[in-house]
Symmetry: C2
Subunit: 689 residues, 2 copies
């Protein structure tokens, strides 16, 4: 059951698409004691946690599956150093569940900054602080954690479903400069028998970083190049940035100015901020007309054969605000005149570091939203959501029958209907493998099913073993992309010595595509999660409740990736007996049944652990060099049948926007004596693995 | 057996104090293939590692006990963000052991930059690169890892032994401003029954950050205040920085200039670099006269009753070099004139960030060392070592009969004879608890026995649970200090809600002092390690070899601290049966015997796990409010006796510099039927715990 409580006059975020009529006052809210401070402008809601209460949620954020013991902020920001000290990343996902003495869920629908102090200031106190402005608070109650998530997902609308090729492996690097760079990437994959479905194009493909342009020197005949790649089953996926370069003659800039589509300052002039191209304006994504206009610009690339995009820099990131830059240089002059000691030196350094993503810059421009002028900071967390919405709405119009790949860096609940997210500019750190895993359930809770991290790490230098271990988690995430930054070590698999290890692991991903795609679409259509903490499946198991490095993936599988350097295995907790498949490739595997309880399980650097639950099966296809080649006509079943197993395998053409779940499902039954029986749309030869 | 191989004409570091006569050429070195590149100026030695070879060592550095899979640099640097991407920290500890197909040790005695690529570029290759200049390479061979360490330690000389009070708990914060701040710290500890032996004084005690001054406004009668504290058994420990403020009338500055004791540029003028006080000169610690002069300055504080110091900023840290600062401001003017885009904006930002610790600044000044003029970068890694040596040599002269507490931030092998190290400006990150643990064996290998991390974390904001868990490791480290930075959350135990948890854990430390002090002095006098990887004690155990989060502490104990937020236990590997003491305080404990093998062991937030080996005992004293109060007359023995246990307990007055190990040892024997029998200097009442 979900109840809504309202404070003040909230800005409509359109996160919730179905809500009951009527309105309750915040003063009636259960569980929390609440006060307004700062002349009633800031709301603080507090809850006393039991000693062992666990808090799930907050989507894309740092720290564990259990969010307790830190303070988090919803305040989308572009900051690439994701240490434990961070409070906010690129997204604002204000949904969490309390599980302990009491069980309930909370969604704070507020586009301004929200702070979640979950046992940080006081070990036993949870405090939600909402910055000035109205907001809606939704309180969920239900029989189980998973059921509460389903109910929440029902009110926020169906999750985005990508084309099936979006489940293939993608190779990316900020640094591919031209056609030949990309051809080389594809060739090295194909030559080595390592599957690949997409190559991502980072900012260098554009003409001086201008949205919706393609640099003609680097890509002289772009549509033909797109076609050349498609002939090899490779999808090119260009990046789109939020900022629009200020440049005479550049049509996007000129149209935007002419029609007043850019965000404006108080004096009515366009706000100027610096990002990749230098001085930029920012489309007012919240304004219906501007959003429609910006969305239609994607057509420029769709028309050249492109069928996928990633939206970036849409927190929106600001290297600097132009007005402040002038002042900052004046302050630098003052420092220049002084002796630089403790105070002055760090003052100067912080001045320069503090140029980016300044609060005061975000307070200096406005949106026109639903016929109101509203200052950016009041709706800051909606910007990335509405940018991706602009694309999603345009795609529905421009490509009514075809799914277009779309994922974004910044997001808010609601954006999950229009695209996925990648988890931003992580680093080549072992700790970020675990962070990747720990974020997945929280993202799923908010409807972000199409998601993945930059495998191998975006910033810093990777190592072969780090990339291998990260891929061993990444083969389970819907978005599986290896991406890295200019200036870091190159990390395409063929930069390293042991090609056979990569071929085995990435090949296994393709064998798993039928299962992953099926579990994904079922989760989307049934408002369910695909990645679950163990506690969501085994709610009565006290030991499962504290497991922070294993996940349930769909209905049949548990994963426990190795994420420590030089490890040759790891500890795993099994809430029930499971069958362990230790894969070196989709063909090379050891199998053993493990009893419920704690185990130390060996896993060498080239080995992936897949645990199958009792009376469950997992369909495995013969691999291919791309998703289109995955052979759905011969499926082998991983199986752990002690009685009888039944599995619903969903499949479709991989493109169509209209999805009829039931007609796409084939029911497979396996009996304890190994008899396989299938019924449904898919005609396949089924064998036991 | 140790053999020395020489390349070129090495700078004498005096790391090694005993070495055989004669000299072998580098071309005769075993194990490695070696080349000289860059006109023979850079030496590269390579070794092909077996698939599962483990590399131990490199002292204070990031990553695991097994250093494989990363590239490390010996290049002392002041950079407080210790992520996995770092290659160097504050120290240069060029000693490592290879254990696998072959077993040998390597010490690269070179004060210039040395790089250790241990399976980073190529998973299976170890490459040591020594920057231009000569060096000595020592190759060790021996029956066991531990024996090779002992042999290495014999040639580098006996480790520093601090006064016994240095084993007490110390409270520190960059931010204690005056007498009353410190009084308050002491009072809150005493009032709450939490033991304390020392309060550290960070840079604010000085008059405008000038070495060997005390700000008279904040500490109007400093010697009286020192005495007031000592009456409460509190030792004040002031910080000393490397840079000397340029200020007319400041005697240290004036004497230094007058006698030519500061490092000079090529033109003979003093090098100017900025640190805390602003513009500074840097004493030429390598010059015998200058070093003697600087060391004697500690007398200014010894004479006021001080008996402990910490040496800081001695990499040496440089906020900026003055000559370059002028150029940098000119470059800033150029950026100012341009549009700031991808290239120019980050160019500007990196210009400012790059002001500190610049290679070119280190190449711009000189030392007078052993009658030669030598450019700083050629001996960079010796600076902190020689600063601490300057103090250590002065203490021997000024206080011949009394141990003075001394530890340093920067270090090189050899400095271990003059002081300990703390592991620098870490952060309040859970991952840094594990990093703390993983550094300890490597530090011990190089003779740094007196060592510890800033418990609770120096940078960033701590949490109550993080501090508790970190203390649960910290109670075993000789240096046990809670330290934090200005601007971060205050983290004295009394800032948090659960005083009883802190009282229990810190109290347990004091009960353990007899064991820890005894193990420490024995390790120092016998050139042994106090913290050992499991593999050093159980060399034939393949599963012990990969354990990265447990340590042996002295001869009787294994520790396995919890270092994950919200964990209520952890996995532990036992190479043999052990008895587990699960302490909540030195009085409140559960005991169970665990069989050899893998276990999941519960440990709530207030619980410390101590594992006692078979046929070993651990003496536990009654606590006190300080080390001087620890009651050595009544000792209780943790014991796991299946046959017979014997323990050598060393004790002394805690101050004297002349240590006679054998006469300080009391032998305690416990039989399987619980009979306790003691023989030696200590008269105590012994009981079984």
């Amino acid at each position: 059951m979900i109840k809504r409580f309202t404070w003040g006059r909230p800005v409509e975020t359109e996160a919730v698409v179905k809500r009951e009529a009527g309105e309750r006052k915040l003063s009636e809210v259960p569980y929390f004691s609440q006060v307004q401070t700062g002349d009633g402008r800031v709301s603080v809601l507090t809850y006393h946690m039991g000693e062992h209460d666990i808090i799930y949620g907050l989507g894309e954020n740092i720290r564990g599956i259990n969010k307790r013991g830190w303070v988090y902020e919803s305040n989308c920001v572009d900051d690439p150093i994701h240490t434990e000290a961070r409070r906010n990343l690129y997204a604002s996902h204000n949904f969490f569940l309390v599980d302990g003495r009491e069980r309930f869920g909370v969604f704070v629908d507020a586009p301004q900054k929200v702070t979640f102090d979950i046992g940080y200031t006081d070990r036993d106190r949870l405090a939600v602080t909402v910055d000035a402005g109205g907001f809606d608070l939704y309180i969920l109650e239900g029989d189980s954690l998973r059921q509460m998530v389903r109910e929440f997902r029902q009110i926020i609308g169906r999750s985005y479903i990508p084309p099936k090729w979006g489940f293939g492996y993608g190779q990316s690097r900020w640094g591919y400069e031209n056609e030949d760079d990309i051809r080389q990437v594809v060739k090295r994959h194909r030559d080595n028998g390592v599957p690949l479905d997409s190559v991502y194009m980072d900012i260098d493909y554009m003409e001086r970083f201008k949205d919706f342009t393609v640099d003609e020197e680097k890509f002289p005949k772009f549509p033909r190049f797109v076609e050349e790649m498609r002939a090899q089953n490779i999808h090119l996926v260009p990046i789109i940035d939020a900022g629009v370069k200020i440049e005479k003659g550049y049509s996007v800039y000129e149209e935007g100015v002419e029609n007043g589509y850019f965000c404006k300052k108080e004096d009515g002039s366009e706000f100027v901020g610096g990002v990749w191209p230098g001085r930029c304006h920012f489309p007012d994504m919240l304004n219906d007309d501007a959003r429609k206009w910006f969305g239609r610009k994607y057509k420029l690339l769709l028309d050249q054969g492109i069928d996928g995009f990633w939206n970036d820099m849409n927190e929106p990131a600001l290297f600097y605000g132009e007005d402040y830059l002038t002042k900052a240089f004046e302050k630098l002059d003052e420092y220049r005149k002084q002796e630089l000691n403790l105070h002055t030196f760090f003052g100067m350094k912080n001045l320069v570091l503090g140029l980016s993503n300044r609060k005061e810059d975000y307070e200096s421009f406005y949106h026109e939203y639903k016929w109101e002028r509203i200052r950016h900071d009041k709706v800051h967390n909606l910007y990335g959501y509405y940018m991706t919405r602009s694309a999603g709405e345009a795609f529905d119009e421009l490509e009514p029958d075809k799914r277009i790949l779309m994922f974004s860096r910044a997001s808010y609940v609601g954006m999950h209907r229009y695209g996925g997210v990648w988890t931003g500019d992580n680093s080549s750190w072992w700790s970020h493998i675990l962070m990747n895993l720990q974020m997945l359930p929280g993202l799923n809770m908010c409807g972000f099913l199409y998601t993945g991290a930059d495998l191998g790490g975006f910033g810093c230098d990777t190592t072969e073993d780090l990339l291998l271990r990260w891929l061993e988690l990444g083969i389970f995430t819907p978005l599986m992309r290896n991406h890295s930054a200019k200036g870091t070590r190159e990390q395409e698999f063929y930069r390293f010595g042991h090609v056979e290890d990569f071929r085995g692991i990435i090949g296994l991903r393709y064998a798993l595509v039928p299962y992953l795609y099926s579990e994904f679409v079922k989760a989307a259509m049934r408002d369910d999660m695909m990645f679950l903490p163990l506690a969501f499946v085994y709610p009565k198991d006290q030991e499962a409740a504290v497991v922070e490095d294993q996940l349930m993936v769909g209905e049949s599988v548990m994963i426990a990736p190795v994420y420590r350097q030089n490890a040759r295995g790891r500890y795993v907790y099994l809430p029930e007996d499971m069958k362990l498949y230790r894969f070196r490739s989709s063909e090379d595997v050891d199998i053993e049944v493990l009893r419920a309880g704690h185990h130390y399980v060996k896993a060498e650097l080239n080995e992936v652990l897949v645990f199958v639950r009792p009376n469950h099966v997992v369909p495995l296809a013969g691999g291919g060099c791309c998703v289109a080649d995955v052979d759905m006509s011969r499926l082998r079943l991983l199986h752990f049948v002690t009685d009888q197993a039944e599995y619903e395998l969903y499949d479709d053409d991989g493109y169509g926007k209209k999805i009829d779940l039931e007609s796409g499902i084939t029911k497979v039954r396996v009996t304890v004596d190994g008899k396989v029986d299938a019924e449904g749309a898919l005609e396949a030869e089924w064998t036991l693995f």
